[in-house]
């Protein structure tokens, strides 16, 4: 077994396994709304409720039929502890239905699906609502520690003099807020921001600024086409309280080109770096939910089938090169399933950074990388560009961190269906140095019939 695996090996339905099949019945997501410098119109709970209620309204069973609700969210608000439970109750799921929230940084949305799939595979549950939600625009501003300490003194002060004395301790520099979102996007152990880890990969794999920008343009072009063709069936419109509606991913830059992207300044390695806002995923709000079912549940409620989750694999590597996580995870996944590049019809690799996706593609068919890093004898055949992220990705539509994993799995199912294809792999890199990959199959029939 040459594959390094941090958690588990094997799949839910490998040959000879007693595990039960896991069906994806239906899924729905909100449009992804780009953060525009202030809290957006929806909290993470609001987004999940909006996506969930439309999804539930079209099910033949009532919300109380769920055995469990498992959502992922990385930056819940202070009033969103165990957000999954809040969403479940607001969706009208029964009070007796348990709910919990998972977190694996950028792998969160996929983790929710994987956990739900395992609960179904092992027979713990038959029907689960799973997915991810994130409102990055709502990530809180925090006070600096000296400011918190001063406020503590202030509240405890008993005399006017004490209050004055406490107030005198405040320094102008203490007033600057701490932006929790930036902290979240920084790897604590290495001190590198996510963008800097991507700069690392660009350097390692010799990826130019122009290649990154071209990739970004392609992502925008593909999403624009998908929107125009109506390929994004998994989106339902959402409505705010001010009379606005949102029916498409609004971060798309239709008019972008190499010249325009070329003018953008590097965001992470200033002033000489290559990663810009234009070739990175956007900061975005959005939720994606799916209904997972066992064969029993499919039969009981006569549910339509969108596809199956076959297997999922998680890998880990150096946090400084976290962008290569997909290569580690996908290699192990395909190896375990005895599959090669040609067996997979369509691919989704979450676009955290153009440089990071390009690095993955380089590594995927790079012999020395596979020998040295993974201990494989040979690399995989290259992934054809027209089979990867065919409708664009996070660079064009944004990357609500806790949601994207669920989004790419759901979207991949729609891509398979549209192209009458069979098998797909969805993968993502994970801040902190991990990768996750999920193998899915389309099919409208139960496996045993």
């Amino acid at each position: 077994m040459p594959v390094k695996s941090s958690t588990q090996t094997g799949g839910y339905t490998p040959a000879g396994s007693a595990a039960r099949a896991v069906y994806i019945v239906d899924g729905n997501r909100t449009p992804f709304l780009k953060a525009r410098g202030k809290p957006g119109p929806f909290t993470a709970t609001d987004l999940a409720v909006a996506a969930g209620r439309t999804l539930l309204v079209r099910q033949p069973f009532s919300p109380s039929a769920f055995d469990e609700i498992i959502l992922g969210c990385i930056i819940p608000g202070p009033d969103e502890a165990n957000i999954s439970r809040i969403v479940a109750l607001r969706l009208g799921c029964e009070e007796a239905t348990p709910a919990f929230t998972v977190q694996r940084n950028c792998g969160t949305g996929m983790q929710a699906l994987d956990t739900a799939a395992m609960h179904i595979a092992t027979g713990r549950a038959d029907l689960i609502l799973a997915g991810g939600t994130e409102s990055m625009s709502h990530s809180p501003l925090l006070l600096q520690k000296p400011m918190v300490a001063t406020l503590g003194k202030f509240y405890r002060a008993k005399s006017p003099l004490g209050i004055l004395r406490a107030a005198a301790g405040i320094r102008p520099r203490h007033l600057a807020p701490v932006i929790s979102l930036l902290l979240g996007l920084t790897d604590v152990t290495t001190g590198l921001s996510m963008g800097q880890t991507a700069e690392n990969l660009a350097y390692e794999f010799n990826i130019s600024r122009e290649q990154m920008d071209s990739y970004a343009i392609e992502s925008n072009t593909r999403l624009a086409e998908a929107q125009d063709e109506g390929f994004l069936e998994e989106i339902s419109p959402i409505f705010d309280a001010e009379g606005n509606y949102y029916d498409h991913d609004d971060g798309l830059r239709r008019d972008t080109n190499l010249d325009k992207l070329g003018t953008l300044r590097p965001v992470f390695d200033r002033p000489f770096g290559n990663i810009t806002a234009g070739n990175s995923a956007q900061i975005t709000d959005g939720a994606a939910l799916v209904v997972l079912a066992s064969e029993d549940a499919v039969k009981k409620y006569d549910l339509p089938i969108l596809g199956k989750i076959i297997d999922c694999h998680w890998s880990a590597l150096s946090p400084a090169r976290m962008g290569l996580g997909p290569v580690h995870a996908m290699a192990a996944l395909l190896h375990n399933q005895r599959l090669g590049t040609g067996d997979i019809d369509y691919w989704e690799i979450n676009e955290a950074f153009a440089a990071q996706v390009l690095a993955c593609l380089h590594a995927w068919s790079n012999g020395s990388f596979f020998t040295k890093e993974l201990g494989f004898e040979a690399p995989f055949n290259p992934i054809p560009p027209d089979r990867l992220n065919v409708d664009g990705g996070a660079i064009a539509m944004g990357h609500p961190v806790g949601t994207s994993g669920a989004r790419i799995v759901l979207h991949l199912l729609h891509v398979l269906k549209r192209n009458n294809a069979h098998r797909g792999v969805a993968s993502q890199c994970i801040g902190g140095g991990q990768g996750g990959a999920m193998l899915i199959e389309r099919g409208e029939e139960l496996s045993h019939e």
């Binding site: 409720v49 439309t54 079209r58 607001r90 009208g92 419109p237 309280a241 009379g243 606005n244 509606y245």
Partner: protein
Amino acid sequence: MSKTTPYRHWALETDMDGYAWLTFDRADSETNTLSKEVLEELDSILDEIKASQPKGLVILSGKPQGFIAGADVNEFSLLENRDQAFELIRRGQGVMDKIEAAPYPTLCLIHGYCMGGGLELALACRYRIAMDDPRTRLGLPEVRLGIHPGFGGTVRLTRLLGPAAAMRMMLTGRAVNAFKARKLGLVDYIVPERLLKQSARSVIEAKPKPHRPGWAAKALNLPLVCNLAANSMRKTVARHASRKHYPAPWAMIELWENPTGNLKKQYEAEAHSVAELVVSPTSKNLVRAFFLQTRLKGLSKGTEFDARRVHVIGGGAMGGAIAAWCALQGMQVTVQARRLEQLAQVIVNARKLFDKRLKRPKLVRDAMDRLIPDQEGLGLSHADVVIEAIIEDAGAKKELLKTIEPQMRDTALLATNTSSIPLEELSTVLERPERLVGLHFFNPVSKMMLVEVVKGTETSEGVIADAMAFVGRIKKLPLPVQSAPGFLINRILLPYLLEAVLMVSEGIPAEAIDRVAVNFGMPIGPVELADMVGLDVCLSVGKVFASHLSHELPPGLEELVAKGHLGLKSGQGYYRYRKGKPIRSKQRKVGTISADIEGRLISRLLNEAVACLRTGIVADADLLDAGMIFGTGFAPFRGGPIRYALDENIETIETYLDELKEQYGDRFAPDPGWKDLSETL
């Protein structure tokens, strides 16, 4: 614990610590009301308690729904004259005085409703504790029955809250929730249910000083300030209720402005004032309206039909408002419209309604969660009730009904909100025509209590019963009517509106016409109403009527619609509108023609009402009156059109109609129904 239960309506227990717990649980009724018998029992209980010298007395209710709903209104109608009324009121006041004079602390534990005489009883106690719960409502709504508080409420509430807050509560008759009651000082504490009894003990133990208003609130009682304030109150009241038609609020201001000496005298003056009001025709008619409302509510109790999910098709003003209302009342609602803009508008309007009605952010959020925009109509196949509210076009409605019927659940109610198309025409496209029922809501949905439940010739009785249960479930008043053009309410209103519009075309100023109608007691003048309904709607309904009922369309209406002057919604109709309010010309004087204006307007309305009664569109005269009061706001103090006609004398009206016919034409010809009506007397 010692227990003495020789009483029908009250249970008295004295516990080991010496607290007396007096539970009011009226026999033979789900609701606690203060009847003569109830008060007599309370009177003797108070004597009994006094003898036992308890540590304190706690009065509470044994009904799950609430504390006390008020005086027993049934007993009002038994009152024959002022003296009898005065006698009864004074007895009630005596009981309240006894509570107030008790040498031990007295305290009321209030949950649910605490209204009218119930609140007056609570006010006589030294302390009040209310349950912290959205269902807790406290108020003195007597003014809505044409009277004012009579068990010392006018005096005690003013003393407790100060005149401004007290008069506002009594003049509007509006109830307050627990939170507001605490803020006003109406209750001393609001506590969760789990602490109610414990808090009662603690308060009696601690004996805090009873609440009194601040000095600023009391300043209103200073002589000159008082007169100024009273005049300002009169001005406000005059905008809503004329002194002639609604004397009660005016009497209340009078009582406060000119107190008649010591407290004892003030209670006596209050009793005299109420005694006078309670036997007046206004109060009799308002009490009748109250009972009619109870009757309509009762109509919804026929079946076990328990709707939870509603699907509304149509994102226009009506569809959106119906959807929002149903969500407000706890239904899960999917609302279907073609365009997302429409759905966005539905949501923002609903939000405004929820903010206004529910106030608390949590409740608003829950209501918003229940209202689901549904462009694709996904909710259709789950819904218990499907309401069609698309454009008023028979072809479009038929096509829609045909499409949705096979997608609906077998047991689901299928309703149309048509205002003019006969059900028989729509149901031809259905596999099961007997399932189609009309649910005719009125605009604005959030304000109009009435919903006409329309029975087509094929509609089954079971469907009608379910429809009425649904209407009751969303806290509206169902009125069963037969399917006929305009059903009941619009059918009666339209001739009245058309006559008004005709008068405008004759050169009578719209302002004059509207003022006459408002003076008669209508909530809004007919010309303004026509503008509000929309002249295009008036025209299309008018045309339907013209073909069915031989009405003539008044000249000028079609021209206005052709020019795009559709009324309020287009900014111009018979009036021009600025910020949703009509611009009234002040120069146009009413002149000497006003007698005829009222005559022409009201006679046509009455004549049509009698025609509806004769043709059986509605089952009886009481239902007709109820429909007009709750569906159009027809002068409630006049008791509805038929009651008004009977009070005015039928022969006189017939003669008058004949005169009008001579002068203005055949549309005034007395309906044959007048004969039947006089025979039933």
